[in-house]
Subunit: 266 residues, 2 copies
């Protein structure tokens, strides 16, 4: 039994089960009808973290609305790495790329943080969520990273869940190399089982007082990313990539090849 | 003795030595005069891989021309990691980001490669070189990555320097996890001392025949980057970040804090 060619992969929050009929959002219906020009019967993949990924078909498709008929399970739900990205927001184009790339790198949650030297205080959560969703659809993950509202550093740390370890990317002051730190944690079963976060500062770096305070928190490990000064978004992606390779799901392989005609076309 | 505040960091190919007078390129003179509004006497850092990084001052500055007076060594030349990035070119905005980020991640050379499924065959080397240079100036490295002209995969591999190991990011077919592969090489003195390259395919991936042929070459190791399908630029950056953390200079710390007023303003 060969599977039909999948024309698109869609995140759907609704329950996915054999025989279910699921309404599309207006934007999804528009994309399927007017961009991909699909007709009823076209095969899609529909997914969410709770139900996994399902083969579905276009059941009805009109202007700005549509419905899928869910057929059979393609891929069962599975645990995913629990790593948050806490980042000082950057400007529009870089933050969009950051959100997309963090999603590809398996980030579970995006938490913007306002630090002393952060100059971008507003975050368009709707736009970031749209970026994250599109990236999740294209990279084959089952979950959608949550995009949180920005918070000040102080209150964020005051509420921090104590069991969640935090890799703090520190370009100034004392810090151990990320490779060495991660290799150490890889040999520690408690660290392997723990939830994690990676945190990066703004363009101007963390204030010295912020680094001092962060360095004293029991869940924080200061890490260095080498001799070059990385832009905040590069630092975030480097930290996520290294974490996934050592403590995350770097040992797994993709379940399917995505067959979207041109995932980067918009 | 406190060092004066450095207004900018400039790559200059000319010989940097005490007392040297070095002409600026028109674009550099324009940037210093009309964007940063510097006056004669303003302190700068001038660098290249051969001579290291030097304190210099604006000696003369006019419309589209100018000269620096080199004063004293800030940072001696030092060996840098020898890792190439071989990548199937992507579209304009992503390729610019890729060039900048690869520079920050310490890539020594950018080699575009045309594979079976590569759809972007032209590369604007002048624009990429400008991106690379600006990123080198901002991230504090001494060298400028070389940007090579695109080559077809076959001839590129036929000329490949046998001692240069190649990490091939393969999303399909058999491949070992990058974390495991790098940890293995870290324990092998010959691999640690070798020059390296990381290679990524185009949006559509490598053709099966390409992967088969690559997998048979003695200098190639196929690596996997986890279960998500990464865009080519994300895969390249993840591979570079992991390589630097384990086999590169991830153990070093930045020599200086860059003090460009706003490195992302253009």
């Amino acid at each position: 039994m060969t599977e039909p060619r999948i024309a698109a992969r869609l995140y759907l929050a609704a329950e996915l089960a054999p025989g279910a009929r699921v309404d599309l959002e207006p934007g999804q219906a528009h994309h399927l009808r007017d961009v991909l020009r699909l007709k009823p019967g076209a095969a899609l993949a529909a997914f969410n973290a709770r139900d996994g990924e399902w083969l579905a078909r276009v059941d009805a498709l009109g202007r700005g609305r549509g419905r899928l008929a869910v057929e059979s399970l393609r891929r069962a739900p599975e645990p995913e790495p629990d790593i948050w990205l806490v980042f000082a927001p950057v400007k529009r184009a870089p933050i969009d790329v950051l959100a997309r790339t963090a999603t590809e790198l398996g980030c579970a949650l995006l938490q913007p943080v306002i630090t002393r030297h952060t100059r971008v205080a507003r975050v368009n959560r709707a736009r970031l969520t749209a970026n994250v969703r599109e990236a999740a659809e294209q990279c084959g993950r089952l979950s959608l990273p949550e995009v949180r509202a920005p918070r000040e550093l102080g209150p964020l740390l005051a509420d921090w869940p104590a069991e969640r370890r935090l890799l703090l990317c520190a370009e100034a002051g004392p810090a151990r190399p990320i490779g060495e730190v991660l290799a150490g944690f890889a040999a520690d079963p408690a660290a392997r089982a723990a939830p994690w976060a990676a945190m990066t500062g703004p363009e101007g770096g963390f204030a010295e007082s912020e680094l001092d305070a962060l360095g004293k928190l029991p869940f924080v490990t200061l890490v260095g990313l080498g001799p070059r000064l990385l832009r905040p978004d590069t630092a975030a992606l480097a930290a996520l990539a290294c974490w996934q390779a050592v403590l995350g799901d770097g040992g797994s392989r993709p379940a399917f090849r995505v067959s979207n005609p041109d995932p980067n076309s918009n």
